[in-house]
């Protein structure tokens, strides 16, 4: 996907599975552009897109009838009651009028705005408006839900509630969700699959469990004091002698110790630290995080 000379998305080969998929990347990574391609709002400069078995370029209207989209932008009409807006969007997405009225009400109750459904959207808080965006996206019972930065502007409590709602929608009603976010922590919390983008390129994709999680070994952080400089080298030396792989971390006092059995490695680290009379700040299991994907993917 190219805008002039700039590649918004480049050499992207993505296969999204059922469940909740997190589309992660910094602002400008190409997340919204990818969603536009999925919706058929943009045409790729080269390559193919298939969504729910349909080509967005040729079956766009048919495809979009099966998709609920929650945009990042604040698009809600100010003086329209929430129930009217959600009902209208359900109708536009193909619900018969009478069905749309009931489903709008049900969707608003589901997102916790049942009591507020008659309120004008302009009088609602940011958190309530994000919930309305979710309600309008699910009211038409989509097969696929595309949510662009659904927690944008929310405080931590509201963010937790929104993430729980999204998880509930996917688990209880079997609606596949693709949500974009630049907050890796929230994606790790609710997503089954990850598509990580950086500057329009694919950094990683796959099951979250395969991409992040516990690895063999531990991470040790020792106290940095003037009298401990030798102690640090002693610890590294002793662990290396035990045929463990030892990597010095970016932080001077941090080392990663990799071995076949994390418990055994932890015991050996404990002994080495005690023998060297070093002071330990932190010791934990070695774990891959989403940030690591970007660190690896960045040239």
């Amino acid at each position: 996907m190219q805008f002039g000379a700039q590649h918004a998305l480049d050499s992207l080969d993505v296969d999204v599975q059922s469940g909740v998929t997190g589309l992660v990347g910094a602002n400008g990574a190409g997340k919204t552009t990818l969603m536009s391609l999925v919706l058929g709002l943009r045409v790729p400069t080269a390559g193919q897109t298939r969504v729910l078995g349909l080509d967005p370029r040729t079956k766009g209207a048919e495809l979009r009838a099966q998709i609920g989209y929650g945009p990042e932008r604040n698009v809600l009409p100010q003086d329209m009651p929430a129930s009217d807006f959600v009902k209208h969007m359900a109708e536009v997405r193909g619900m018969p009028r009478n069905e749309a009225r009931g489903r709008a009400s049900d969707a608003l109750w589901l997102v916790g705005l049942g009591e507020e459904r008659a309120r004008a959207l302009g009088t609602m808080s940011t958190g309530q408006r994000q919930r309305v965006k979710l309600a309008q996206a699910i009211a038409s019972d989509p097969a696929l839900l595309l949510l662009d930065e659904p927690t944008d502007g929310l405080d931590p409590v509201q963010r937790d509630e929104m993430l729980s709602l999204i998880r509930q929608v996917s688990r209880e009603y079997g609606i596949d969700v693709v949500l974009s976010s630049h907050l890796l922590e929230e994606v790790e919390r609710i997503c089954d699959h990850i598509v990580a983008l950086d500057a329009g390129r694919l950094v990683a994709q796959g099951r979250l469990d395969d991409l992040v999680g516990d690895e063999q070994g531990v991470v040790v952080e020792l106290a940095e004091t003037a009298d401990q400089a030798q102690a640090f080298d002693d610890v590294v030396s002793r662990l290396s002698e035990s045929r463990l792989e030892v990597r010095r971390g970016e932080v001077g006092s941090r080392i990663e110790v990799i071995g076949p059995d994390a418990d055994l490695v932890a015991d050996l680290v404990r002994d080495a630290v005690a023998d060297a009379n070093a002071r330990v700040i932190r010791i934990e299991r070695r774990r891959r995080r989403l940030e690591d994907l970007f660190a690896v993917g960045t040239p």
């Binding site: 709002l41 989209y69 209208h88 536009v92 193909g94 589901l110």
Partner: protein, 300 residues
């Protein structure tokens, strides 16, 4: 999803189905267009919105209907004056020029500009609607609302004249007049809807869009007047006045030319085909600008 049901002793049940999957039929693009048309009409007329949004449409409708009501009253009170007390339909269209222009300047900006400014346009394109079907739905809504002002007063007059016994003779004649009035109102509404939508396509500020629409309508009238009346150019240049051109087309459709007792205008001696072409050109120009702008408009 299975719903929850609570039973009472008398057998009554309260069903709380809550959110559930939907297996029924979907209305597709037709339903999407229908919903957007209706929602746009509601928005323009202020329906389902706070009272302040209803004030302006109501005032314009009242002003537009006033001449028809007055002439109906005159016809009723001074029946012994005969047909001389009756105003013809093309003159009634003429009396509605000011409210129609004001309405044209208000309707399309309300229908189009808001959607682009607040991002609803992009949200609509994430549904079965496409750019052409979106614009078609908006055009239908704008046309329907313009018809209220353009056609409402003359239909009121037709019904009123009929009730007081001064209407067309016979059912066939009545329907002839009715269809001519409808066609005339449709032409005026279509031209002004196209001009109004074109003005609303070129700016994302509603106020600027309204000013642009008024400038095109007034500007066209002023330029044609200067060229024809002051500079003594050919009367054909009066076709540069969109409202005058559409009004003259309505007059021809109604069969109320000066020879038939109608009012005289700069376009009265222009061939009917040329007048119709001028009207079509105004409509095509407006529609062309809308189509061009919306084809280029970015949706994210």
């Amino acid at each position: 999803m299975s719903g929850n049901a609570k039973s009472s002793a008398d057998g009554a049940e309260i069903h709380d189905r809550g959110y559930r999957r939907y297996e029924g039929a979907r209305s597709g693009v037709v339903g999407a267009v229908r919903s957007l048309v209706w929602q746009t009409i509601r928005s323009i007329l202020g329906l389902g919105r706070p009272a302040r949004h209803k004030v302006f449409p109501v005032i314009v409708v009242v002003i537009a209907a006033l001449p028809a009501v007055v002439f109906l009253g005159v016809a009723l009170l001074f029946r012994d004056l005969g047909d001389d007390s009756l105003v013809n339909y093309s003159d009634l269209f003429g009396f509605s020029v000011a409210p129609i222009m004001i309405y044209a300047a208000m309707v399309a900006p309300e229908a189009l500009v808001r959607d682009r400014r607040d991002g609803m346009f992009s949200l609509y394109l994430s549904t079965p609607l496409t750019r052409p079907t979106y614009v078609a739905a908006k055009a239908l809504a704008v046309l329907a609302v313009m018809m209220i002002i353009a056609l409402g007063p003359v239909l009121l007059a037709l019904v009123g004249y009929t009730v007081v016994g001064d209407g067309p003779d016979g059912v066939v004649e009545w329907f002839k007049v009715f269809f001519r009035l409808t066609a005339a109102g449709l032409v005026i509404s279509a031209v002004l809807a196209a001009v109004s939508m074109a003005g609303s396509s070129v700016t994302d500020r509603r106020a600027f869009a309204s000013v642009a629409v008024i400038l095109v309508i007034f500007g066209g009238a002023i330029v044609s007047s200067i060229l024809v009346d002051a500079a003594d150019f050919s009367n054909t240049y009066a076709l540069l006045d969109p409202m005058g051109t559409a009004g003259e087309t309505a007059t021809r459709i109604l069969g109320e030319s000066p020879e038939q007792g109608g009012s005289v205008s700069e376009l009265s001696d222009i061939d009917t085909g040329v007048v119709f072409l001028g009207t079509a050109a105004w409509f095509a120009a407006g529609a062309g600008i809308v189509g061009y702008k919306y084809r280029k408009l970015e949706a994210t």
